[in-house]
Assembly symmetry: C2
């Protein structure tokens, strides 16, 4: 059971992070259901499951888990499609999943939040561009980010890179753009993306 916002503004539709969970479930053929939680009024039930008051969180039997990263790693335990079972492949998928969060998203989210809110001369633009450049340098020799195959790390990394790409921070990074294009062309992403668009469109009716 994946809990997601019932509504978000137009801008982020198609980019809300729960798409990562839906992509993983679609890709691995895991049964899942989606339930809405209020975006505008984050009540005690929400805080009890997600103390920071964000989305998504998921429930799996008596386990409740929040944040897209831990949720993805939890789902990855259920399916070898998402995470190799050999220790080396597993370590690679783990490190690149978290690198998406803590190396790239740590600098890209403050960058785009500030950019979209109209801030000029965003202080960490150089910092982000430098990290994207380092990441770009490893991509020409690999089709997937970890373990020489599709893993949960591609779901995370591709998804983290979509915002810098659509906001034109990756123009000089051809291999990086090709990597994102390749991953978002996969059927499970398309399905998850269409579902997210439809979910929020329905909220407007």
């Amino acid at each position: 059971m994946i809990w997601i916002y019932d509504w978000v503004p137009d801008g982020p539709r198609g980019y809300v992070r729960y798409i990562r969970l839906r992509w993983a479930c679609e890709k691995a053929g895991l049964d899942y259901d989606v339930k809405p939680v209020s975006f505008k009024d984050r009540g005690p039930d929400h805080i009890a499951n997600q103390p920071i008051g964000q989305g998504p969180f998921l429930q799996d039997g008596d386990i409740s888990i929040f944040e897209s990263g831990p949720c993805l790693l939890h789902l990855a335990r259920k399916s070898e499609t998402l995470m190799p079972r050999d220790p080396k492949g597993e370590a690679e998928a783990l490190e690149w999943t978290i690198a998406g969060l803590n190396t790239i998203e740590m600098v890209s989210v403050p960058w785009w939040v500030m950019g979209l809110s109209g801030t000029k001369d965003i202080p960490h633009e150089d910092w982000m561009v430098s990290r994207l450049g380092r990441l770009h340098a490893v991509l020409p020799v690999r089709e997937w980010i970890a373990a020489i195959r599709f893993t949960v790390a591609d779901i995370m990394m591709s998804n983290v890179l979509r915002m810098p790409k659509v906001l034109n921070a990756t123009q000089k990074l051809r291999a990086l753009r090709a990597y994102v294009d390749g991953t978002v062309a996969l059927p499970a992403f398309k399905q998850a993306h269409a579902n997210q668009k439809a979910h929020f469109a329905k909220a407007d009716e």
Copy 2:
């Protein structure tokens, strides 16, 4: 084998992230050795193990893994001291370890990097304060952040909070300060902290 910088400027000494790994190894009684990698000249060997050019990374047999989060989770597999083995406790320790990285550090690192570089009116100060407040709200009813016991999530969360605390962003958050004080009073942290100070002091000789 933990690879760490051979030198860093005075300011961050005692705060460099590899302290998280050392704390985990000390706490769990895992054998480890530390080797230096050049801070000023990050060569091809470094990039081969850590493509983003940061520290720390670790080697464990034929597994090489980078970033403090994945390294901690890798070490946590080796010892129940660091991570409970029941699925619910494991999910909690996992989510709070990554929440340290992606909920708190994502806003706190850009905040303190900018603050220390002299930027005025840091745009994400409110964002960080709001998240620290949410975290603070869960602390009065728990001694440890996850699973009603010490876990790897306390190593991560305490460590992530040390910078906002020392830079006076937590003055109104008494339970949060008490949580950090309690965790850094633990012998394994003290040992890891003393080791880090000594390691960098030796580099000056």
